[in-house]
């Protein structure tokens, strides 16, 4: 049995659904944010795995054929966005806690009509 792209995609699907279930069904804001990180990590794994199976293309300079690293670059930017999201999200958690003295998501009903 040889390691295939499908193995990585299946693993990443499982990790994404675990994150999605955690985001939807936990009422702790901190756990919800961690679940978002889980989902982003699962998507990153998809990008990197697909990049590993990408066939080489002829380079623009006319030299030997190279494999572009678009999946790696995309995963890099996803990591940057995830870091920004964690910083702002946790700041919002702190502000929310000051307001309501709890971190339960169903306490966030100030905008409810």
């Amino acid at each position: 049995m040889i390691l295939q792209l499908g193995h990585y995609l299946a693993l990443s699907t499982v990790l994404f659904t675990i994150g999605a279930a955690g985001f939807l069904f936990r009422r702790n804001v901190l756990v919800a944010l961690m679940s978002v990180e889980l989902m982003m990590n699962a998507v990153n794994l998809t990008f990197v795995a697909a990049n590993r199976w990408q066939p080489a293309v002829a380079s623009a300079a006319g030299g030997a054929s190279v494999v572009p690293h678009h999946g790696h670059l995309f995963a890099f930017f996803v990591i940057a966005v995830a870091a920004a999201e964690a910083a702002v999200g946790l700041a919002i958690v702190l502000a929310f806690y000051r307001l309501r003295k709890t971190v339960r998501t169903d306490a966030a009903d100030l905008l409810r009509g």
């Binding site: 193995h7 675990i18 069904f25 990180e37 790696h72 670059l73």
Partner: protein, 189 residues
């Protein structure tokens, strides 16, 4: 001598089991510190998976950004909130939530079974695939503009996080000592 494909498969299985178990720990435990430790192990497992994909640059970035920054930030906020970071459980609606989460995971397992059959031929990795030098050359070549925009995004996130976490009436004259439930005194805590 164990063949290289078997070694790769063994490493994949090890890190995959580690990633799945730690992901379940991240969402399932009640204590947020345990969730954070689960996220920590999950990030390490993903770094290991990146190594099996010969993505050296991303392994380093994953370890530095997630272990060094994101998990530490989570632990910091959990410590700052103290016992309040673990709100009391409510038994009402527990069964529907478990059923819903189970059905979502069931759909995920079905999709995973479908995509597991994707088996294109894998090209051989060249020696410079995924190294810091080659990814860096692409990052500072064709992807220069998005890279600089990422720095703008991170600066905006830092300023935004500071503004949100600081509260609005810092620096104003406090009129009176407020009760903890007074929502307008956001900076009092």
């Amino acid at each position: 001598m164990i063949p290289a494909s078997t070694q790769q498969l063994a490493a994949f299985v090890f890190f995959a089991v580690m990633a799945i178990v730690s992901a379940v720990a991240t969402v399932a435990f009640r204590n947020p510190i345990r969730n954070a430790v689960g996220l920590f192990v999950h990030v390490l497992a993903l770094a290991g998976l990146y190594i099996t994909l010969s993505a050296h640059f991303l392994t380093a970035v994953q370890l530095i950004v997630y272990v060094g920054a994101v998990v530490v930030l989570f632990v910091f906020v959990i410590m700052l909130l103290g016992p309040a970071s673990e709100p009391p459980a409510d038994s009402a609606g527990r069964l529907p939530r478990i059923v819903g989460a189970g059905s979502i995971v069931g759909v995920g397992l079905f999709v995973a079974r479908v995509v597991a059959d994707l088996q294109p031929a894998r090209p051989d990795a060249t020696a410079d695939f995924g190294t810091i030098e080659t990814v860096g050359r692409e990052l500072f070549g064709p992807s220069m503009l998005p890279f600089e925009m990422a720095s703008v995004l991170l600066t905006a996130a830092i300023v935004g996080a500071f503004a949100v976490a600081r509260g609005y009436n810092q620096g104003k004259v406090r009129m009176s000592s407020s009760t903890p439930s007074d929502a307008s005194e956001g900076a009092e805590s």
